[in-house]
Amino acid sequence: MSSISGIESPPSNPPGTAAQLSVALPVLAVLLASAVFAAFVALYGQNPFTVFGLIVQGGFGSSFAWQDTLSRAAPLILVGLAVAIPAQAGLVIIGGEGALVLGGLAGAVVTLPFAGAHALPMQVIMLVAGALAGGLWFGLASLLRQYRGVNETISSLLLSYIGIAIFHHLTEGLLRDPASLDKPSTHPIDPSYMLPVLPGVGVHAGLAVSLALAIIAHVVLRYTRWGFALRVVGGSARVARMVGLAVNRWVIGATFVAGGMAGVAGAIEVAAVQGTANSSLIVGYGYSGILVAFLARHQPLAIVAVALLIGGMQASASLLQRRLELPDATMLVFQGLIFVCVLVADAIAQQLRENTRR
């Protein structure tokens, strides 16, 4: 850090510092958020250490806790990818909830006419149907963006609400199982079609599907020319056109794939947990996914890690409620604090990087 006054010094930081900072700052941000949260629960008359202990115990403290965490992480990974993939092309799409529920609905009804078939093809068909439904829903948002200049963030959100309305309309009308009285649902899928439980883990196979998709997304985005092309499109549409990329096709394709991820998440929830499409699908995974993706800086492997963390936090909410009678919204407050702090830390890290580059 030696600089002589009066002489234009080269960037005074050694190259490692910026990289270290971009790791250290988010960690500091989580610590800061935890401190604020600790003060919050302390003001509410709870011992912060007890609360943190219960969060760890409820999320990661036992095999039961891990199963709960992992089965929550599976959809979170997928809806996180649904935000991260279009983000490579510079799009902020936040309508994952709508794609998820429509994917779930498609998955729930597609196998109904085929009772008693082999399970595996039916399971594949369910996931593919979910992917197509979610993909089409996201694709609409990017079509409107590319051809009409409609802001995709807002249109995807509106489409999400419309998708949820269509979901309610169909599950309480045309596609409703008359036997589902207090909770309108579609006809249950053939029990033999349910996704199996992974041996030794105790979590449904949807977890394996979402992990596999995250790894594929990582490889494709990082090591193939598809990923590179997408980043060129995201960097500058004009440059992308100059080098001969069909920008519209890349953007719409990427959003279609992303919507497919959210749709698969819905189909997995149906095929592995609910066995039918009903309002239990609408629990806000789509919105949590936005934050998972932003916290992971749109990196697929980091999304897996963040989804585990958020899944664990959400899993621990019920333990906090049982033991300390803290409302289940407690963890929502904690998540909000973490998101805010990490986003600001990210911005500061980015500034520091730019300063050192100069």
């Binding site: 409609v150 802001n151 609400y161 919105y287 934050l291 409302p327 998101f339």
Partner: protein, 308 residues
């Protein structure tokens, strides 16, 4: 003609009454968002502010016995949240879309946390002004029971119009929103104006939330909002950043939102959810119709990062 049966008039009356009720929170949230956007910032987190306002308004009304004190508390809670948003977005390079979404999480989290004990008790509601005293028809009376906040909202739209277009502070706000460089050259405190504009937006969104819990639907629950805070962003685009337009747009959205319940009231129940989605479909249709690829948002404040 039988005085209690008014035949086909039932439906338009129900829609009109519903439109007034449903539109009131829209008026406040959208004009709040408009003020913020006029300063060149977008606040996507008003949904969280709305929920926080609804909870704070209900809680204070319950504890103090005065619904108007509740409205004030809701506004102050919203102002505080606006201050947080304004300060966070003043950090260079921060992603304001993501900040908005995280404040939705934080705001709803806080609202649910502190609102848990408020689900049971009944807080005193805001009074409504009965404009239907001349009629003995119950539907007419129901439709013309108008909450006082609705009239405040109408006045607000015109007041904001005057403020933006006829006052020095309004000019400063618009300059900051249209060109940061010009504002700096004129010596305007850009950051301070933006933070204040976000606080004002939060104040109004908080009041919009208090209408939800204190008038219609009129109680506190976790499913109280149906996305009014988020739709405000679309509504401001639809209104082309003009407060009088925002008033009209809110009424239109209210009417669209009242369609489902009104039809259910006359026995048409088959498409309840689809009619409930009418405001979203309407917004989307209008966004598609009113933007073009060449000039996405001609009337948008210059500093507003809506189009990339």
């Amino acid at each position: 003609m039988d005085v209690t049966s008014i035949g086909w008039l039932t439906l338009p009356l129900a829609i009109l009454g519903g439109a007034i009720r449903v539109s009131t929170p829209f008026i406040f949230v959208s004009i709040g968002e408009l003020i913020t956007e006029k300063s060149g910032r977008i606040n996507l987190g008003l949904e969280g502010t709305l929920m926080l306002g609804a909870m704070a308004g209900y809680g204070v009304s319950y504890l103090s016995g005065s619904p108007w004190l509740g409205v004030l508390a809701a506004g102050l809670a919203g102002t505080a949240f606006g201050l947080v948003h304004g300060l966070l977005c003043s950090v260079k390079r921060v992603n304001d879309t993501a900040i908005g979404i995280s404040l939705i999480v934080l705001g709803t989290g806080l609202a649910f946390f502190f609102g848990k004990p408020l689900i049971e008790p009944k807080a005193p509601a805001l009074p409504s002004i009965s404009l239907g005293f001349w009629s003995s028809v119950p539907q007419v009376r129901a439709a013309s029971d108008v909450n006082a906040l609705f009239f405040v909202g109408i006045l607000l739209a015109f007041a904001v119009y005057v403020f933006l277009n006829r006052t020095g502070w309004g000019l400063m706000l618009r300059t900051v929103g249209d060109s940061e460089d010009a504002a700096r050259a004129l010596g305007f405190p850009v950051l301070r104006v933006r933070i204040l504009a976000t606080m004002a937006g939060g104040f109004l969104a908080g009041i919009g939330g208090s209408f939800l819990s204190l008038s219609y639907p009129g109680s506190w629950s976790e499913g109280l909002s149906s996305g009014q805070g988020i739709m405000a962003v679309a509504l401001v685009i639809f209104a082309r950043w003009r407060s009088i337009n925002a008033l009209g747009a809110s009424l239109l959205f209210g009417g669209a939102g009242a369609l489902g319940p009104a039809l259910q009231g006359v026995g048409v129940t088959g498409y309840y959810y689809l009619f409930n989605a009418a405001p979203y479909i309407l917004t989307l249709a209008i966004m598609v119709a009113s933007t073009s690829r060449a000039a996405p948002f001609a009337d948008a404040p210059g500093e507003l990062k809506l189009h990339r």
